[in-house]
Symmetry: C2
Subunit: 428 residues, 2 copies
Amino acid sequence: MTTPLRLGIAGLGTVGAGVVKIVRQKAALLTERTGREITVVAVCARHRERDRGVPLTDYAWEDDPVALATRDDVDVFVELMGGSDGPAKAATEAALDAGKDVVTANKAMLAHHGQALAERAEARGAVLRFEAAVAGGIPVIKALTEGLAGNEITRVMGVMNGTCNYILTRMETGGLTYREAFDEADGLGYLEADPELDVGGIDAGHKLSLLAAIAYGTQVAFDAVELEGIGKVSIDDIRQAADMGYKIKLLGVSRMTGRGLEQRMAPCLVPATSPLGQLDGGTNMVVIEGDQVGQIVMRGAGAGEGPTASAVMGDVMDLARGFRMSTFGQAAASLRPATPARSATPAPYYLRMALMDKPGALAKVATALGEAGISINRMRQYAHTDDAAPVLIVTHRTTRAALDSAIAAMRATGVVAGEPVALRIENV
Amino acid sequence: MTTPLRLGIAGLGTVGAGVVKIVRQKAALLTERTGREITVVAVCARHRERDRGVPLTDYAWEDDPVALATRDDVDVFVELMGGSDGPAKAATEAALDAGKDVVTANKAMLAHHGQALAERAEARGAVLRFEAAVAGGIPVIKALTEGLAGNEITRVMGVMNGTCNYILTRMETGGLTYREAFDEADGLGYLEADPELDVGGIDAGHKLSLLAAIAYGTQVAFDAVELEGIGKVSIDDIRQAADMGYKIKLLGVSRMTGRGLEQRMAPCLVPATSPLGQLDGGTNMVVIEGDQVGQIVMRGAGAGEGPTASAVMGDVMDLARGFRMSTFGQAAASLRPATPARSATPAPYYLRMALMDKPGALAKVATALGEAGISINRMRQYAHTDDAAPVLIVTHRTTRAALDSAIAAMRATGVVAGEPVALRIENV
């Protein structure tokens, strides 16, 4: 038996406490599976006295995560503090500079600094792993980086923010408005301190950008993700979509095209009976398409103590087994800068707007679409009592650019009230 | 850059040819991802002259797989011949004895000799990997062995034989009898040389037993898998199930219980709208449940050149990266003998039989069920023109043992014609 693998854990929220519990309660199983004892030697968090449901007195306490990360008796720095910068980044950098391996669940840090951190790790021969940063307990980073490594990846898609999915599901099943569902999720503690991270699609966009880096061998390009939040989705949209056999999901899609890398995180209509359409509540789903394997779909819990701790432990156990590889599945220096391409793959679109009650208003909308080369699959105008009539249009396949120019033309005619809502329809 | 990883490939059917194609056509990608060149040095197959759609003249040819497996210039023996014994086993043993790593797609060999081969590998410090043996392109072995290694696995389920799923799907969508669908699958080349391997559930049972060994840390116990084939499923069963909102799938379930290891591969009714129910044609699905992660579902192509070659390459690339681990995820010596437990987890059952047209016949059946402690959820007797009336019963939750005793009691009354069909209902 070799020497124990010694962990220093920074951040003792539910995930950190969950990791400590697994290490304590499953010691024999972990050793049996990895051939090596795994121990916690030191921990660090903001509030030392808080009861976290697990005894911590066996471990050294550090107030400073950088001090924890660089302790001589720490082999692996487990970063579970969160935040793209600040202490998480400082401690991760310090650990890597000290040649220590790092396991993190921090999608924001990697989305913003992934390339620099990967280079830093490799400069010192350290390993940086982040399974827990994407899709909670689903071992999707491992699948993409290792199991499917013989494929050229052609597309990666996913529903990867459980909070958004919860809000959309509650709007649909409970008939709640967006605001009501948002408040309910907030009351349940599902939202990040900055809710825009969730509902603005930023958190899910972080995850998509990490998957894309691995899939296409490109440097993480979070800033190039086209982001649309779910705040514009109304209960009307949910109902109209349901009428047509669709559900609305915050769906991420990335694809390498001849023009560059497309990355999009936006609410979309997906068939209600499809695997994505059936995804309710906090469950995540990731779809990977490769030239050899075809389509692989993975589903599981996207957050929570157990699932996220499971992902952290997967990375820790790989290190205990001596598995060493580059952060994004190939040497950081070989990752190419991504050429962002605004997503141009055509799709049908769902378009909802309020039309002024004026003669010829509908004709002007139809003309604007026709002049942009967009043909209409179906159109409905609903009965109304106020000055503006709700109009719903489903187009045939078109590009987002053509649609945006049609919307601009419609608005220039002055017959459209407010901001039209355009949602892509993904028949996946 | 280190020295190349040199493969010797035995078996040049579609999968073997597919592996050669990937190594030839994606050389740069493979090296970029693993940091090591991967080359084929020698190949072996039964018919040297056959055109396999890929040039083989760059590689040494061996007529004898054992000679291939033990060549000095082979680092990894890739076994794609198939067959539980014979040349595949002899060559695998020879490779391991020579300290060479082995990658195989051979579920039959591992189901029958997995423990002995794992011990043999470890005795020489060799690695034996078999991702391609289970569920084609789905990286499920990797998920179970590595990504979810921090979990106690509580249940593993799966639809893992595409041929059976194709036959059942065609009976349903095409209204074909079992025999017609079987003949269609045969005509398309989907069936093994011994069709019983497919339709008898043996092939799927092999796969289930391998997953169970990893999941529960037990020695492979294929002989303890309760096997039922799909041959008893009739078009009537498919239709009745559909009427009730179910589809029939050849479903494997393994579970560690207080009494021992349950492993069952049998046609079951699953809800038509569930992920398993929506699985059509050759697609496979594996469901893994762990104490931390909850439920993980993985779906993908279960066979075919690209998907299977993708799985082989995943293993090869792990070896190129220097990942070394025990065959079943822990040292062979630490795998415990499985204590087989006949599956006793209660479930509702679907029961179809032909009743003699005699007064009191239905009462006798109902009495037999009642005396076995089985309550009836619903029962239908159908109009009939011959001497025997089709009767369909759905029970409340009961054990298979209780059901079997009730069936024996019914048959003893002499009112049941032929063999009743009993299918478990899995509401997953």
